[in-house]
C-alpha cells in the first residue's frame, strides 16, 4: 500500500443495522459499528446494554434478525464460530475456556496440532506457540510446555489471547479481559495489546471500566438499551461526557410514589461489618416499609451481598440481626424460616423449575418448609395478590418473563416473607410488565415488607428506591438519598476520588442513625 498521509484508515469491520430479539425482548436495535484497521475500539455500555450480544453476533454464536456484517467491504455471514475464525475474527471470552490439564502449546493448537508422519509434531507445535507468545512479548514468562492450570490467571489470559492470534485474525475481540486481573497486571496486558495494534491488528475492547477505556482505546462506541448512542474519538471526550452517554436518558416509564416518611418502620434486617468472599465491612439496614436500592458495577459484590443476606453464602465476618435478634443464617432454609425471600437475578437457572407448573413453583418454598406452611396458603389468593391470571397447571417455561417473576414473588408471599431481596427484578421483562412488578414492590413495602432492590438499571434504582446504597469493590462506597442523579451514583460506583470521602462519611452517619 502507498504511504497515505492522513485519511482515516480503511474500515476493516462494519456491522450495519444489527437487530436481535430473544423471546420477544429486543436486545439489539439497529446497531452500527465500524472499526478501522489498526485501532483499538471500545464498545461500552452498562450491564445489559447489548455489548455481549453484539459480539456474539460478530463471531457467529448468534445470528442477527436483521442487518449485515462486512469484512474489508465484503459482506459475510457467520452461522458458526468456526466460519468467523476462518474469516479472521477471533474472540477471547470473559470466562477462560482453556483445558487446565493440558500444556500451553496443546491448548493453543487444540484440534489443529501440527503433524508429522506419526502423530503430533511437538517440537513444531512448541516453536509455533513460542512465536505467538513472542507477539505478545510473553515468550520469556510462559513456556509452551507448562500446564495451563499451574499458571496464574493473568498468564492464562495471555495463553487465551495467543490462541486467538493463532487463527491469524484481522479483528480480535477482547470481552472484559481485565475482570480477574490486578491493576498491575492490567497495565502489562495493555502494553501487549498496544503491541498488537502496532502490528496492524484491529482490537475490539469490551468493557464498562472508564479508566481502562481512556487508557487504551482510540475510539469508543457507546451502547445503551440495545441501541448505539454514539461513536466518539477517545481523545475528544471526558469522564462526565462518557457517563452521560452511557446512562443519560429519559425516564421511560412511570414509577409508583415513594414511601411517606411516617410509613417507614423499624429495622427488620441489619448487618454490621459483614464479610464473605470479596465482601468486607458491609453495614446495611433494611427497614419495614422501605425500598433500598443497591447499585454498583458488575463485580462490585451486589449479588454476593444478596446471597449472604439469604444464607446462600455463609458470613465469615460480622453480625446479622433479623427483627432485632442476632441470627446465624446457615442455609437458605434458615433464612426462609426467618422470613427472608430472594428473587434471583437469573430466574431461569436459579429461580424456577421450568418444567413444573405455576402451582408447583409457587408452593415450592412453602412445601419445603413443612406441612403447616403449605396448608396455610391458598394458591388462588397468592396469584391474585401478584395479579397473575391464567391456569395454574401451565409449565412456567411457557410464561413471559414478567409472569415468571410474579410466580417467584408469589412463592415468597406463600412463606410470609417480611424481607424481600430483589436481584435485578425486571431484567428481560418488557416495559408494561416492569411497571406492574414495580407497583407490586411498592405495595409490598407499604404492607410492611423491607425490600432490597439490586439493579444495574440506574433509572430503576432512582425511580424506585427510598434510599440508595452504592457498592464498590465489595464494600459500601456510599449512600445517597432518594432522587439522586445517575451521575452521582456512577461516580460513587466507579470511585472518583473527590466524591468518595464525603459520601462514605454520609453513609456512616446514615448507618448508625
Amino acid at each position: 500500500m502507498t504511504a497515505d498521509p492522513r485519511p482515516p484508515d480503511p474500515v476493516v469491520l462494519g456491522m450495519y443495522g444489527i437487530s436481535k430479539r430473544f423471546f420477544g425482548v429486543t436486545v439489539l436495535d439497529d446497531v452500527r459499528l465500524e472499526c478501522r484497521a489498526g485501532e483499538i475500539h471500545a464498545v461500552m455500555g452498562e450491564n445489559g446494554a447489548g455489548k455481549s450480544t453484539l459480539m456474539k453476533i460478530l463471531v457467529g454464536v448468534h445470528q442477527p434478525d436483521a442487518g449485515r456484517i462486512e469484512l474489508n467491504g465484503a459482506p459475510v455471514r457467520f452461522h458458526h464460530p468456526r466460519q468467523a475464525l476462518a474469516a479472521g475474527v477471533s474472540i477471547v471470552h470473559q470466562e477462560l475456556t482453556l483445558l487446565p490439564e493440558r500444556t500451553v502449546a496443546e491448548n493453543i493448537f487444540l484440534g489443529r496440532e501440527p503433524r508429522r508422519r506419526f502423530g503430533v509434531d511437538r517440537a513444531a507445535m512448541d516453536q509455533a506457540a513460542t512465536r505467538l507468545l513472542a507477539a505478545l512479548g510473553a515468550e520469556d514468562v510462559i513456556s509452551p510446555r507448562s500446564l495451563v492450570g499451574r499458571l496464574p490467571v493473568a498468564r492464562q489470559q495471555l495463553v487465551e489471547i495467543a490462541k486467538a492470534l493463532s487463527f491469524e485474525p484481522r479483528v480480535l475481540v477482547l470481552d472484559e479481559p481485565t475482570a480477574a486481573l490486578s491493576p498491575h497486571e492490567v497495565d502489562a496486558l495493555f502494553d501487549r495489546i498496544r503491541r498488537l495494534r502496532a502490528d496492524g491488528l484491529t482490537v475490539l475492547y469490551i468493557s464498562h471500566r472508564l479508566r481502562e477505556v481512556f487508557d487504551l482505546t482510540d475510539r469508543i462506541t457507546v451502547l445503551k438499551d440495545g441501541r448505539r448512542v454514539d461513536t466518539v474519538e477517545t481523545a475528544e471526550v471526558n469522564t462526565r461526557r462518557l457517563v452521560h452517554l452511557m446512562v443519560g436518558r429519559e425516564l421511560d416509564h412511570y414509577y409508583p410514589p415513594r414511601a411517606a416518611p411516617g410509613r417507614i418502620g423499624p429495622v427488620r434486617l441489619a448487618v454490621r461489618g459483614a464479610g464473605a468472599g470479596l465482601l468486607h465491612d458491609v453495614d446495611l439496614d433494611l427497614r419495614a416499609g422501605e425500598i433500598v436500592g443497591l447499585a454498583g458495577l458488575a463485580g462490585s459484590g451486589r449479588t454476593e451481598l444478596a446471597r449472604l443476606l439469604f444464607g446462600a453464602t455463609r458470613m465469615t465476618a460480622g453480625s446479622l440481626t433479623v427483627d432485632g435478634r442476632a441470627r446465624r443464617l446457615r442455609s437458605p432454609r434458615h433464612a426462609i424460616r426467618r422470613g427472608i425471600g430472594l428473587l434471583t437475578e437469573d430466574r431461569k437457572s436459579e429461580g424456577l423449575v421450568l418444567q413444573r407448573s405455576v402451582r408447583d413453583n409457587t408452593l415450592l418454598a412453602a412445601r419445603s418448609l413443612g406441612r403447616g406452611a403449605a396448608r396455610r396458603v391458598a394458591l388462588a389468593d397468592l396469584l391474585d395478590r401478584v395479579r397473575l391470571r391464567g391456569g395454574t397447571d401451565r409449565e412456567v417455561r411457557y410464561l413471559s418473563g414478567g409472569n415468571q417473576q410474579k410466580v417467584v414473588l408469589a412463592r415468597w408471599l406463600a412463606t410470609g416473607a417480611r424481607v424481600l431481596i430483589f436481584d435485578e427484578p425486571t431484567r428481560g421483562i418488557d416495559v408494561g410488565a416492569k411497571a406492574s412488578i414495580h407497583e407490586l414492590m411498592r405495595e409490598l413495602a407499604d404492607a410492611g415488607a423491607a425490600i432490597l432492590m439490586i439493579s444495574s438499571e440506574l433509572p430503576e434504582v432512582i425511580g424506585m428506591a427510598d434510599r440508595i446504597v452504592v457498592l464498590r469493590q465489595g464494600t459500601v462506597a456510599g449512600e445517597l438519598p432518594a432522587g439522586a442523579s445517575e451521575a452521582e451514583i456512577m461516580l460513587l460506583a466507579t470511585g472518583e476520588p473527590d466524591r468518595t470521602g464525603a459520601a462514605a462519611g454520609a453513609s456512616r452517619e446514615g448507618g448508625t442513625a
Binding site: 413444573r356 408452593l363 415450592l364 394458591l379 401451565r394 411457557y398
Partner: protein
C-alpha cells in the same frame, strides 16, 4: 395425604387455561395428548401380540403375563424417583440377586423364618439405598459411579458368602408372593404379585405426585439451584429417592423369588431394564421429568416387546440388542419432543 394448597383452577372460569405454545386442538385430541404416549405404545404392542396369539389377552394368560412383569414394574416405580431427582441407581439388579440368595440361605426353606426375613430384607434394602444416597450427596461421587460400585460390592459379597454356588431354598410362603394368588371365580388366579404391584404403584404414585416430598423430588432434579434457594434440602431429598429405590428392589426381589431359581444371576440385567422402562415412560435422564404410572407402563411395554419377539421366534439373545435400540429410540424421541416444545 395431598397437601396441594388451594383449589385447582376451575376450567370454566379460566378460559385461558390452555398453555401458550401448545396448539389447542379439539377436545378429543387434547385428551389424547394428556395420555403419556407410552400407554398407546403398550396398547399397540399388546394388540400385535393378541393378533399373533389371541389367547394372550384372555384373563388367565394375561394375569400370568402381568405377574411376570411385576418385579420389573416395581423396580421401575422405585427407579423413577432416583431418575427424576437427577441421579441413577445401577445397584438394583445386584440387590435383587442378593435378596433371593440371602433369603434362601437364611431360611433354607423353613416357612417359620419368612415373617422376620421380609422386614430384615426391607431394612437392608433401605440401608443400601441410604449408603448410595450418602455417597452420592455427601461424598459427591457421581451416582453412576457410586451405584456401579455398590453393584460390584453387592455381587461380590453374594459370591463370597455363597461360595459361588448359592445354597438353601426359599420357603413356600416366601415364594407365594411371586407364584400364587387369590382365586377369582371365572377368572382364574389374581396373582399376589399383581396385587403387590398395584399397591406399590398406587403408594409410590401418591408419594411422587401428591405429597410435599414428591414435589421436592421434581424440584431437586429439575433445577437443584432453584430448589436449594427455595429451601429444599436437595441432598436429603436425593438420598430419600435412593432409599425408595432400594426398598422397591427388595420388593422386586421377593416377587422374583417366586418364579426364579436361587442363583447368583437372579437379578442380573434388571438395573438396565429398570432404567430402560423409566426412559420409555418419558423420564429424562438428568432429572425433573417422569412419573410412576408411565414408568410402570414402560416396564410392561418392555416385557410385552420381549414376549412379542419370543412369539415371532426371534432368539432370546436378540433381547439385549432390542432393548438397547428401544432405550436409544425412546431417549431420542424425548429429546426431540423437548426441543420442539422448549
Amino acid at each position: 395425604m395431598t397437601t396441594t394448597a388451594g383449589p385447582p383452577a376451575a376450567p370454566g372460569a379460566q378460559p385461558s387455561a390452555v398453555p401458550r405454545g401448545e396448539p389447542a386442538g379439539p377436545r378429543a385430541r387434547r385428551l389424547l395428548r394428556a395420555v403419556p404416549p407410552i400407554w398407546l405404545v403398550l396398547a399397540a404392542v399388546i394388540l400385535l401380540i393378541a393378533w399373533r396369539n389371541p389367547t394372550f389377552v384372555e384373563p388367565a394368560p394375561f394375569l400370568a403375563f402381568l405377574r411376570r412383569c411385576a418385579p420389573l414394574a416395581v423396580l421401575a416405580a422405585g427407579q423413577v424417583f432416583v431418575i427424576i431427582a437427577g441421579e441413577f441407581d445401577l445397584s438394583v439388579g445386584a440387590l435383587v440377586t442378593a435378596v433371593v440368595v440371602v433369603a434362601a440361605r437364611l431360611s433354607d426353606g423353613d416357612a417359620a423364618h419368612t415373617w422376620w426375613l421380609i422386614p430384615l430384607l426391607l431394612a437392608a434394602g433401605a440401608l443400601v439405598g441410604l449408603v448410595n444416597g450418602l455417597v452420592t450427596t455427601r461424598l459427591r461421587v457421581p451416582s453412576f459411579i457410586a451405584t456401579l460400585g455398590m453393584l460390584l460390592v453387592l455381587s461380590g459379597a453374594v459370591f463370597l458368602w455363597s461360595g459361588g454356588a448359592p445354597r438353601g431354598s426359599l420357603a413356600d410362603n416366601f415364594r407365594q408372593f411371586g407364584r400364587f394368588g387369590v382365586e377369582l371365580p371365572g377368572l382364574g388366579q389374581l396373582p399376589y404379585a399383581v396385587l403387590t404391584l398395584t399397591a406399590v404403584g398406587i403408594g409410590l404414585w401418591l408419594l411422587l405426585s401428591h405429597s410435599r416430598f414428591g414435589h421436592q423430588v421434581y424440584a431437586a432434579g429439575g433445577n437443584p439451584q432453584a430448589a436449594a434457594l427455595s429451601g429444599v434440602d436437595v441432598r436429603r431429598v436425593r438420598t430419600a429417592a435412593f432409599v425408595i429405590s432400594g426398598l422397591s428392589a427388595v420388593v422386586a426381589g421377593i416377587l422374583l423369588g417366586g418364579f426364579t431359581g436361587v442363583t447368583a444371576e437372579a437379578g442380573a440385567g434388571y438395573e438396565f431394564q429398570a432404567i430402560a422402562a423409566v426412559v420409555l415412560g418419558g423420564a429424562v435422564l438428568g432429572g425433573g421429568r417422569g412419573s410412576v404410572g408411565a414408568s410402570v407402563a414402560g416396564a410392561l411395554t418392555l416385557q410385552s416387546v420381549f414376549t412379542l419377539l419370543n412369539l415371532l421366534g426371534l432368539a432370546k439373545s436378540l433381547r439385549d440388542a432390542v432393548q438397547g435400540l428401544i432405550i436409544i429410540g425412546a431417549a431420542a424421541y424425548a429429546a426431540h419432543r423437548l426441543r420442539r416444545s422448549g
